[in-house]
Amino acid sequence: MTLPVEVKDLTIRYGDTVAVDGLTLGLDGGKIYGLLGRNGSGKTSVLSAVAAFRKATSGAVLVDGAEPFENAALTRQICFVRDRVDAQDTDQVRAVLKMSRALRPNWDEEYAQALIERFHLPLKKRIGALSRGAKSALSVTLGLAARAPLTIFDEAYLGMDAPSRYAFYEELLNDYIAHPRTIIISTHLIEEVGSLFEEVVIIDKGKLVAHDETEALRARGVAVTGPVEAVDAFTAGRTVLGDQRLGGTRSTTVYGQLTDEERARARDAGLELGPVGLQDLFVHLTAEERR
Protein backbone atom coordinates (compact mmCIF):
# COMPACT_ATOMS: atom_id res chain seq x y z
CA MET A 1 0.00 0.00 0.00
CA THR A 2 1.29 3.43 -0.90
CA LEU A 3 -0.07 6.84 -0.06
CA PRO A 4 -0.28 9.85 -2.38
CA VAL A 5 0.52 13.27 -0.91
CA GLU A 6 -0.98 16.57 -1.95
CA VAL A 7 0.22 19.91 -0.64
CA LYS A 8 -2.08 22.80 -1.57
CA ASP A 9 -0.95 26.41 -1.21
CA LEU A 10 0.67 25.54 2.12
CA THR A 11 1.94 28.37 4.30
CA ILE A 12 3.57 27.91 7.69
CA ARG A 13 4.55 30.89 9.82
CA TYR A 14 6.46 31.05 13.08
CA GLY A 15 5.69 34.50 14.40
CA ASP A 16 7.04 36.87 11.76
CA THR A 17 9.06 34.19 10.00
CA VAL A 18 7.54 32.58 6.93
CA ALA A 19 8.96 29.04 6.75
CA VAL A 20 6.73 27.75 3.96
CA ASP A 21 5.35 30.24 1.48
CA GLY A 22 2.35 29.11 -0.59
CA LEU A 23 3.79 25.73 -1.58
CA THR A 24 1.80 23.47 -3.92
CA LEU A 25 3.06 20.00 -4.64
CA GLY A 26 1.62 16.65 -5.73
CA LEU A 27 3.29 13.27 -5.13
CA ASP A 28 1.55 10.26 -6.73
CA GLY A 29 2.98 7.89 -4.15
CA GLY A 30 4.73 4.55 -4.43
CA LYS A 31 8.05 6.16 -5.27
CA ILE A 32 11.21 7.31 -3.51
CA TYR A 33 11.20 11.10 -3.50
CA GLY A 34 14.15 13.32 -2.73
CA LEU A 35 13.34 16.64 -1.08
CA LEU A 36 16.28 18.97 -1.55
CA GLY A 37 16.74 22.38 -0.01
CA ARG A 38 19.35 24.42 1.78
CA ASN A 39 19.37 24.76 5.55
CA GLY A 40 16.35 26.81 6.56
CA SER A 41 14.59 26.34 3.20
CA GLY A 42 11.46 24.93 4.88
CA LYS A 43 12.05 21.19 4.31
CA THR A 44 11.35 20.14 7.88
CA SER A 45 8.30 22.43 8.15
CA VAL A 46 6.71 20.94 5.03
CA LEU A 47 7.43 17.38 6.13
CA SER A 48 6.18 18.06 9.66
CA ALA A 49 2.87 19.23 8.20
CA VAL A 50 2.65 16.14 5.97
CA ALA A 51 3.37 13.92 8.98
CA ALA A 52 0.75 15.75 11.10
CA PHE A 53 3.38 17.00 13.55
CA ARG A 54 2.42 20.56 12.77
CA LYS A 55 -0.70 22.42 11.68
CA ALA A 56 -0.66 24.58 8.56
CA THR A 57 -1.01 28.33 9.05
CA SER A 58 -3.03 28.29 5.84
CA GLY A 59 -3.49 25.99 2.90
CA ALA A 60 -3.84 22.23 3.20
CA VAL A 61 -2.02 18.93 3.26
CA LEU A 62 -3.82 15.81 2.05
CA VAL A 63 -2.48 12.30 2.49
CA ASP A 64 -4.50 9.74 0.58
CA GLY A 65 -7.11 12.47 0.14
CA ALA A 66 -7.57 13.28 3.84
CA GLU A 67 -6.09 15.79 6.30
CA PRO A 68 -3.62 13.94 8.54
CA PHE A 69 -3.74 16.42 11.44
CA GLU A 70 -5.42 14.77 14.47
CA ASN A 71 -6.47 11.87 12.26
CA ALA A 72 -5.25 8.82 14.20
CA ALA A 73 -6.22 6.23 11.60
CA LEU A 74 -4.13 8.10 9.03
CA THR A 75 -1.15 9.00 11.21
CA ARG A 76 -0.61 5.31 12.05
CA GLN A 77 0.14 4.94 8.31
CA ILE A 78 2.70 7.77 8.38
CA CYS A 79 6.16 7.42 9.87
CA PHE A 80 8.28 10.54 10.37
CA VAL A 81 11.95 9.79 11.04
CA ARG A 82 14.46 12.34 12.28
CA ASP A 83 18.05 12.03 13.52
CA ARG A 84 16.83 11.73 17.09
CA VAL A 85 14.44 9.34 18.76
CA ASP A 86 11.06 10.49 20.04
CA ALA A 87 11.42 8.94 23.49
CA GLN A 88 12.52 9.76 27.04
CA ASP A 89 16.27 9.76 27.72
CA THR A 90 15.67 7.21 30.49
CA ASP A 91 13.94 4.70 28.16
CA GLN A 92 15.91 1.63 27.16
CA VAL A 93 16.40 0.89 23.46
CA ARG A 94 14.36 -2.30 23.71
CA ALA A 95 11.46 -0.44 25.34
CA VAL A 96 11.40 2.02 22.43
CA LEU A 97 11.36 -0.89 19.98
CA LYS A 98 8.53 -2.53 21.90
CA MET A 99 6.52 0.68 21.72
CA SER A 100 6.94 0.92 17.95
CA ARG A 101 5.96 -2.71 17.59
CA ALA A 102 2.71 -1.98 19.43
CA LEU A 103 1.95 1.21 17.49
CA ARG A 104 2.84 0.20 13.93
CA PRO A 105 0.37 -2.08 12.13
CA ASN A 106 2.92 -3.23 9.52
CA TRP A 107 5.86 -3.64 11.92
CA ASP A 108 8.26 -6.45 10.90
CA GLU A 109 9.98 -7.75 14.03
CA GLU A 110 12.39 -10.01 12.17
CA TYR A 111 13.55 -7.15 9.99
CA ALA A 112 13.90 -4.90 13.06
CA GLN A 113 16.16 -7.50 14.69
CA ALA A 114 18.28 -7.75 11.54
CA LEU A 115 18.71 -3.97 11.45
CA ILE A 116 19.60 -3.84 15.16
CA GLU A 117 22.34 -6.36 14.49
CA ARG A 118 23.55 -4.56 11.39
CA PHE A 119 23.78 -1.20 13.20
CA HIS A 120 25.14 -2.79 16.42
CA LEU A 121 22.43 -1.22 18.57
CA PRO A 122 22.76 -1.97 22.30
CA LEU A 123 19.29 -3.11 23.47
CA LYS A 124 19.83 -2.44 27.16
CA LYS A 125 21.31 1.04 26.87
CA ARG A 126 19.19 4.06 27.70
CA ILE A 127 18.41 6.55 24.93
CA GLY A 128 20.24 9.33 26.78
CA ALA A 129 23.43 7.26 26.84
CA LEU A 130 23.49 6.57 23.09
CA SER A 131 26.00 8.28 20.80
CA ARG A 132 24.64 10.60 18.13
CA GLY A 133 25.30 7.95 15.48
CA ALA A 134 23.49 5.28 17.48
CA LYS A 135 20.47 7.56 17.94
CA SER A 136 20.29 8.10 14.18
CA ALA A 137 20.70 4.37 13.56
CA LEU A 138 17.91 3.53 16.01
CA SER A 139 15.75 6.16 14.39
CA VAL A 140 16.16 4.76 10.86
CA THR A 141 15.66 1.23 12.23
CA LEU A 142 12.28 2.29 13.63
CA GLY A 143 11.46 3.97 10.32
CA LEU A 144 12.37 1.01 8.12
CA ALA A 145 10.86 -1.76 10.26
CA ALA A 146 7.57 0.17 10.61
CA ARG A 147 6.96 -0.36 6.86
CA ALA A 148 4.56 2.58 6.97
CA PRO A 149 2.81 3.29 3.62
CA LEU A 150 4.20 6.83 3.89
CA THR A 151 7.69 6.97 5.40
CA ILE A 152 9.56 10.26 5.72
CA PHE A 153 13.26 10.47 6.54
CA ASP A 154 14.06 14.05 7.46
CA GLU A 155 17.86 14.24 7.34
CA ALA A 156 17.71 11.12 9.48
CA TYR A 157 21.31 10.21 8.64
CA LEU A 158 22.67 13.26 10.46
CA GLY A 159 24.71 11.59 13.24
CA MET A 160 25.71 8.57 11.12
CA ASP A 161 29.21 8.03 9.74
CA ALA A 162 29.70 7.16 6.05
CA PRO A 163 29.67 3.33 6.39
CA SER A 164 26.44 3.48 8.44
CA ARG A 165 24.85 5.85 5.94
CA TYR A 166 25.65 3.52 3.06
CA ALA A 167 24.25 0.59 5.06
CA PHE A 168 21.09 2.64 5.52
CA TYR A 169 20.82 3.48 1.79
CA GLU A 170 21.25 -0.20 0.94
CA GLU A 171 18.60 -1.32 3.45
CA LEU A 172 16.23 1.39 2.30
CA LEU A 173 16.48 0.48 -1.37
CA ASN A 174 16.21 -3.28 -0.88
CA ASP A 175 13.29 -2.96 1.51
CA TYR A 176 11.54 -0.56 -0.87
CA ILE A 177 11.98 -3.05 -3.73
CA ALA A 178 10.51 -5.84 -1.57
CA HIS A 179 7.79 -3.65 -0.05
CA PRO A 180 7.01 -0.67 -2.31
CA ARG A 181 5.70 2.37 -0.45
CA THR A 182 5.86 6.16 -0.54
CA ILE A 183 9.21 7.31 0.80
CA ILE A 184 10.33 10.91 1.12
CA ILE A 185 13.96 11.65 1.97
CA SER A 186 15.10 15.16 2.73
CA THR A 187 18.80 15.71 2.34
CA HIS A 188 21.58 17.90 1.11
CA LEU A 189 23.99 14.97 0.59
CA ILE A 190 22.81 14.73 -3.01
CA GLU A 191 25.78 12.89 -4.47
CA GLU A 192 25.35 10.09 -1.95
CA VAL A 193 21.65 9.42 -2.38
CA GLY A 194 20.74 11.04 -5.70
CA SER A 195 20.66 7.72 -7.55
CA LEU A 196 17.98 6.37 -5.18
CA PHE A 197 15.41 9.04 -6.06
CA GLU A 198 12.79 8.49 -8.74
CA GLU A 199 11.63 12.08 -8.42
CA VAL A 200 13.28 15.15 -6.96
CA VAL A 201 11.61 18.18 -5.37
CA ILE A 202 13.74 21.27 -4.81
CA ILE A 203 12.49 24.01 -2.49
CA ASP A 204 14.08 27.29 -1.54
CA LYS A 205 12.89 29.93 0.93
CA GLY A 206 9.65 28.01 1.43
CA LYS A 207 8.81 27.95 -2.28
CA LEU A 208 8.89 25.25 -4.93
CA VAL A 209 11.86 25.62 -7.31
CA ALA A 210 11.66 22.36 -9.27
CA HIS A 211 9.82 19.03 -9.23
CA ASP A 212 10.63 16.43 -11.84
CA GLU A 213 11.87 12.92 -12.48
CA THR A 214 15.48 12.71 -11.34
CA GLU A 215 16.64 11.56 -14.77
CA ALA A 216 14.84 14.46 -16.46
CA LEU A 217 16.48 16.93 -14.08
CA ARG A 218 19.89 15.45 -14.78
CA ALA A 219 19.35 16.23 -18.47
CA ARG A 220 18.11 19.74 -17.81
CA GLY A 221 21.25 21.67 -17.02
CA VAL A 222 23.83 22.36 -19.73
CA ALA A 223 27.24 23.98 -19.35
CA VAL A 224 28.08 25.95 -22.51
CA THR A 225 31.82 26.65 -22.85
CA GLY A 226 33.75 28.54 -25.53
CA PRO A 227 34.81 32.00 -26.75
CA VAL A 228 32.97 34.76 -24.86
CA GLU A 229 31.05 36.20 -27.87
CA ALA A 230 29.94 32.79 -29.13
CA VAL A 231 28.74 31.73 -25.68
CA ASP A 232 26.89 35.02 -25.20
CA ALA A 233 25.17 34.69 -28.59
CA PHE A 234 24.09 31.11 -27.89
CA THR A 235 22.87 31.67 -24.34
CA ALA A 236 21.01 34.94 -25.02
CA GLY A 237 17.38 34.63 -23.95
CA ARG A 238 17.94 31.43 -21.96
CA THR A 239 17.66 30.90 -18.22
CA VAL A 240 21.21 31.38 -16.98
CA LEU A 241 22.02 29.66 -13.69
CA GLY A 242 25.71 30.37 -13.39
CA ASP A 243 28.61 31.94 -15.19
CA GLN A 244 32.40 31.69 -15.07
CA ARG A 245 35.02 33.49 -17.10
CA LEU A 246 38.68 32.81 -17.65
CA GLY A 247 40.39 35.18 -20.10
CA GLY A 248 38.60 34.90 -23.44
CA THR A 249 36.71 31.77 -22.44
CA ARG A 250 33.31 31.75 -20.81
CA SER A 251 31.38 28.89 -19.30
CA THR A 252 27.69 29.55 -18.77
CA THR A 253 25.28 27.09 -17.16
CA VAL A 254 21.81 27.26 -18.67
CA TYR A 255 18.60 25.57 -17.55
CA GLY A 256 16.40 23.74 -20.05
CA GLN A 257 16.84 20.88 -22.44
CA LEU A 258 18.47 21.58 -25.83
CA THR A 259 17.08 20.18 -29.08
CA ASP A 260 19.33 18.22 -31.46
CA GLU A 261 19.24 21.17 -33.82
CA GLU A 262 20.43 23.52 -31.06
CA ARG A 263 23.20 21.12 -30.11
CA ALA A 264 24.39 20.99 -33.71
CA ARG A 265 24.33 24.79 -33.90
CA ALA A 266 26.43 25.02 -30.73
CA ARG A 267 29.00 22.58 -32.12
CA ASP A 268 29.21 24.54 -35.37
CA ALA A 269 29.87 27.70 -33.35
CA GLY A 270 32.84 25.98 -31.69
CA LEU A 271 31.07 25.58 -28.35
CA GLU A 272 31.47 22.70 -25.98
CA LEU A 273 28.33 21.39 -24.24
CA GLY A 274 28.74 19.61 -20.93
CA PRO A 275 26.30 17.94 -18.57
CA VAL A 276 25.48 19.43 -15.17
CA GLY A 277 25.13 17.06 -12.24
CA LEU A 278 22.20 17.01 -9.85
CA GLN A 279 24.34 18.50 -7.09
CA ASP A 280 25.55 21.38 -9.29
CA LEU A 281 22.05 21.99 -10.57
CA PHE A 282 20.78 22.18 -6.99
CA VAL A 283 23.56 24.61 -6.04
CA HIS A 284 22.79 26.83 -9.04
CA LEU A 285 19.01 26.74 -8.54
CA THR A 286 19.25 27.72 -4.88
CA ALA A 287 22.21 30.11 -5.02
CA GLU A 288 21.89 33.41 -3.17
CA GLU A 289 22.70 35.76 -6.06
CA ARG A 290 19.71 34.58 -8.09
CA ARG A 291 17.34 36.45 -5.78
Partner: protein, 117 residues
Protein backbone atom coordinates in the same frame (compact mmCIF):
# COMPACT_ATOMS: atom_id res chain seq x y z
CA UNK B 1 29.57 3.30 -10.08
CA UNK B 2 27.60 5.81 -12.10
CA UNK B 3 28.50 9.47 -12.34
CA UNK B 4 26.15 12.24 -11.38
CA UNK B 5 26.64 14.20 -14.58
CA UNK B 6 24.54 12.39 -17.16
CA UNK B 7 21.27 10.44 -17.01
CA UNK B 8 21.96 7.18 -15.19
CA UNK B 9 19.59 5.19 -17.43
CA UNK B 10 21.78 5.99 -20.44
CA UNK B 11 24.86 4.86 -18.49
CA UNK B 12 23.06 1.59 -17.69
CA UNK B 13 22.15 1.07 -21.35
CA UNK B 14 25.78 1.71 -22.36
CA UNK B 15 27.06 -0.75 -19.78
CA UNK B 16 24.82 -3.54 -21.04
CA UNK B 17 25.83 -2.78 -24.62
CA UNK B 18 29.48 -3.10 -23.61
CA UNK B 19 28.73 -6.50 -22.04
CA UNK B 20 27.05 -7.66 -25.24
CA UNK B 21 29.91 -6.39 -27.43
CA UNK B 22 32.53 -8.08 -25.26
CA UNK B 23 30.56 -11.32 -25.28
CA UNK B 24 29.99 -11.28 -21.50
CA UNK B 25 26.28 -11.38 -22.37
CA UNK B 26 25.45 -13.85 -25.12
CA UNK B 27 22.57 -14.15 -27.60
CA UNK B 28 19.24 -15.02 -26.00
CA UNK B 29 20.88 -14.87 -22.60
CA UNK B 30 18.73 -13.47 -19.79
CA UNK B 31 19.89 -10.19 -18.28
CA UNK B 32 19.50 -9.32 -14.59
CA UNK B 33 16.01 -8.20 -13.55
CA UNK B 34 15.52 -4.48 -12.98
CA UNK B 35 15.24 -5.11 -9.24
CA UNK B 36 18.43 -7.17 -9.13
CA UNK B 37 20.15 -4.52 -11.18
CA UNK B 38 18.85 -1.68 -8.98
CA UNK B 39 19.88 -3.44 -5.82
CA UNK B 40 23.33 -4.35 -7.14
CA UNK B 41 24.19 -0.87 -8.37
CA UNK B 42 22.20 0.92 -5.65
CA UNK B 43 19.94 2.88 -7.97
CA UNK B 44 16.20 3.44 -8.10
CA UNK B 45 14.43 0.49 -9.81
CA UNK B 46 12.47 2.90 -12.04
CA UNK B 47 15.79 4.25 -13.36
CA UNK B 48 17.02 0.72 -14.10
CA UNK B 49 13.72 -0.05 -15.84
CA UNK B 50 14.13 3.07 -17.98
CA UNK B 51 17.58 1.93 -19.11
CA UNK B 52 16.22 -1.51 -20.03
CA UNK B 53 13.27 0.05 -21.84
CA UNK B 54 15.69 2.11 -23.93
CA UNK B 55 17.44 -1.10 -25.01
CA UNK B 56 14.12 -2.79 -25.87
CA UNK B 57 13.25 0.20 -28.08
CA UNK B 58 16.64 -0.05 -29.80
CA UNK B 59 16.05 -3.78 -30.39
CA UNK B 60 19.03 -4.80 -28.26
CA UNK B 61 16.90 -6.60 -25.66
CA UNK B 62 13.53 -8.28 -25.90
CA UNK B 63 10.95 -8.98 -23.24
CA UNK B 64 9.41 -12.34 -22.42
CA UNK B 65 6.30 -11.69 -20.43
CA UNK B 66 6.52 -12.94 -16.87
CA UNK B 67 10.08 -14.21 -17.32
CA UNK B 68 12.34 -11.26 -17.98
CA UNK B 69 14.61 -9.53 -20.49
CA UNK B 70 16.85 -11.31 -22.99
CA UNK B 71 19.57 -10.31 -25.44
CA UNK B 72 18.26 -10.14 -29.02
CA UNK B 73 19.74 -12.64 -31.47
CA UNK B 74 21.26 -9.97 -33.71
CA UNK B 75 22.15 -7.51 -30.92
CA UNK B 76 25.90 -8.04 -31.00
CA UNK B 77 26.11 -7.80 -34.78
CA UNK B 78 23.97 -4.66 -34.77
CA UNK B 79 26.05 -2.97 -32.06
CA UNK B 80 29.28 -3.89 -33.85
CA UNK B 81 27.99 -2.38 -37.07
CA UNK B 82 27.05 0.85 -35.26
CA UNK B 83 30.42 1.05 -33.59
CA UNK B 84 32.25 0.33 -36.86
CA UNK B 85 30.39 3.19 -38.49
CA UNK B 86 31.61 5.57 -35.83
CA UNK B 87 35.12 4.12 -35.56
CA UNK B 88 36.91 6.20 -38.19
CA UNK B 89 35.27 9.45 -37.17
CA UNK B 90 35.52 9.02 -33.42
CA UNK B 91 38.75 7.06 -33.03
CA UNK B 92 40.92 7.51 -36.13
CA UNK B 93 40.11 11.14 -36.93
CA UNK B 94 40.49 12.06 -33.26
CA UNK B 95 43.86 10.31 -33.17
CA UNK B 96 45.08 12.17 -36.26
CA UNK B 97 43.97 15.50 -34.80
CA UNK B 98 45.79 14.77 -31.54
CA UNK B 99 48.92 13.64 -33.43
CA UNK B 100 48.97 16.94 -35.34
CA UNK B 101 48.67 18.97 -32.13
CA UNK B 102 51.58 17.23 -30.42
CA UNK B 103 53.73 16.83 -33.56
CA UNK B 104 53.65 13.12 -34.33
CA UNK B 105 53.87 12.45 -38.06
CA UNK B 106 51.37 10.23 -39.87
CA UNK B 107 54.31 8.11 -41.08
CA UNK B 108 55.16 7.31 -37.50
CA UNK B 109 51.55 6.26 -36.83
CA UNK B 110 51.46 4.13 -39.96
CA UNK B 111 54.73 2.42 -38.92
CA UNK B 112 53.22 1.67 -35.52
CA UNK B 113 50.07 0.23 -37.09
CA UNK B 114 52.15 -1.88 -39.48
CA UNK B 115 54.05 -3.19 -36.47
CA UNK B 116 50.82 -4.28 -34.82
CA UNK B 117 49.77 -6.46 -37.77
Amino acid sequence: MFDDRSPIYLQIADKIKEDILSGALGEDEQVMSTNQYASFYRINPATAAKGFQQLVEEGVLYKRRGIGMFVSADAREKLRAERRERFFEQVVDAMIAEARVIGISLDEIVRRIEGAK
